[in-house]
Symmetry: C2
Subunit: 252 residues, 2 copies
């Protein structure tokens, strides 16, 4: 009996070529579909809420799929986690209405970007934060970031390679918080920038972090943000590294 399920997934993206299935690449979606196929005895296609890039992590990625059995959905979680190994963990699986779709039904998403200020990367944060040698002033970064809050055309922060109907998105809030996003923490100085918005274009979060950081350290004038928001042109600024980014939560 076919049932639509919704699963919440946590993964360390370090050794994956991102979420989306690509021929010849090890991807998170590919690993999950392979495990589901082993259990179902037939191919199972899943839809992820967000297509995280290579090296990007997730605490709360969501996927949906039609599950053909034979296992009952509530027995799936543990078996699936065990098949997947330690880099991917399925935190919950629930049966949902047939019209649920992890990406199209999403109301908003939270992303967090971790930054560590240190002369050299910390061994325990190397894969989970962007290490910067310049003086990270959390209050200043927060002030700059507030300019992004609201509804804007984010085409100027979208890297090429995406095809979307509209490049308008609403950022509900941005906050700068102490400490790493998750995982083994550290005595070094670590912060994370949290974005909550109704959607994020291709590399938008990392491009926003890159521009905010360049303004904070004085490499760009503060007006650069407003300019890129008011007169979108292809993004040619700095893209913050993938390893600092976490998809924290998808809300429905």
């Amino acid at each position: 009996m076919n049932q639509t399920i919704k699963a919440v997934v946590r993964y360390d993206g370090t050794d994956f070529s991102g979420w989306q299935v690509q021929p010849g690449q090890r991807t998170v979606q590919g690993a999950i579909e392979e495990a589901l196929e082993r259990m179902a005895g037939q191919p199972v296609r899943i839809a992820g809420a967000g297509r995280t890039d290579a090296g990007v992590h997730a605490l709360g990625q969501v996927f949906s799929c039609v599950w053909p059995g034979p296992k009952r959905p509530d027995e799936l979680r543990r078996s699936l986690s065990q098949l997947l190994g330690p880099e991917i963990r399925i935190d919950s699986i629930e049966v949902v209405r047939d019209d649920f779709h992890a990406q199209r039904s999403a109301a908003s998403k939270r992303y967090a970007y971790a930054i560590c200020q240190a002369a050299e990367p910390d061994p325990f944060l190397e894969k989970y934060a962007w290490t910067v040698p310049w003086d990270f002033n959390a209050q200043r970064v927060n002030e700059i970031a507030q300019r992004v809050v609201g509804r804007h055309d984010f085409a100027g922060f979208c890297s090429s390679g995406s095809s979307v109907e509209t490049t308008h998105r609403t950022i509900h809030s941005i906050g700068v918080l102490d400490g790493p996003v998750t995982g083994p923490p550290d005595t070094s100085s670590v912060w994370h920038i949290e974005f909550h918005g109704d959607g994020f274009l291709y590399k938008m979060a990392r491009n926003l972090v890159g521009t905010i950081a360049d303004i904070a350290r004085g490499h760009l004038d503060e007006s650069a943000l407003d300019e890129r928001l008011s007169a979108p042109a292809p993004y040619h600024g700095y893209t913050a590294p993938a390893k600092g980014l976490f998809l924290v939560e998808v809300r429905y």
Copy 2:
């Protein structure tokens, strides 16, 4: 000009066969000696404060050596860190008295052991904590652990393979703390047990954690600790996995 130096080192022990040099193995000591030899143009032998096992991590391991130049000791730190790559970071280097020896001069050490309670390992803690499915009661674990505090013959918690003059050691304090080994708490349930003592025998910290855990979950009677402390016999109990252990600090 030869100078004796003291260095504080942080490393992710996951992909090393422990601290101590072993033929054909990738070890932390081996990696550091190789880098120092490249800079000095001659072999440099270092002495570590503690011989951490394969998979054990360090936030504050200390080593000493006689540095023959040509680089000045205060120029060493950055160059050495860069040669070593992201898994090992040199946090400080200072010139010390000629009679300083990282192991023999040590007054006490702090170790911390991280435990995560979860049905399946968290992808971000998999290499940095022991995941247990049973109910971890921090207060109960702390009560049990207090029996270890004081001066005892720890021969009954020493795995074979060590050769020491005496198996008596003093544990100054043990505490059970919320969260991973340092920093803010994770979203999972994580604690760490911190040991401060004048010395630790081979696998002593991990054997103590194994026995304390077995008592806490009801697999061993509470008297087992006292028995192993009063009538030492070769340890045949559970040894907690290496990946949860961190050498936090060496005091002089």
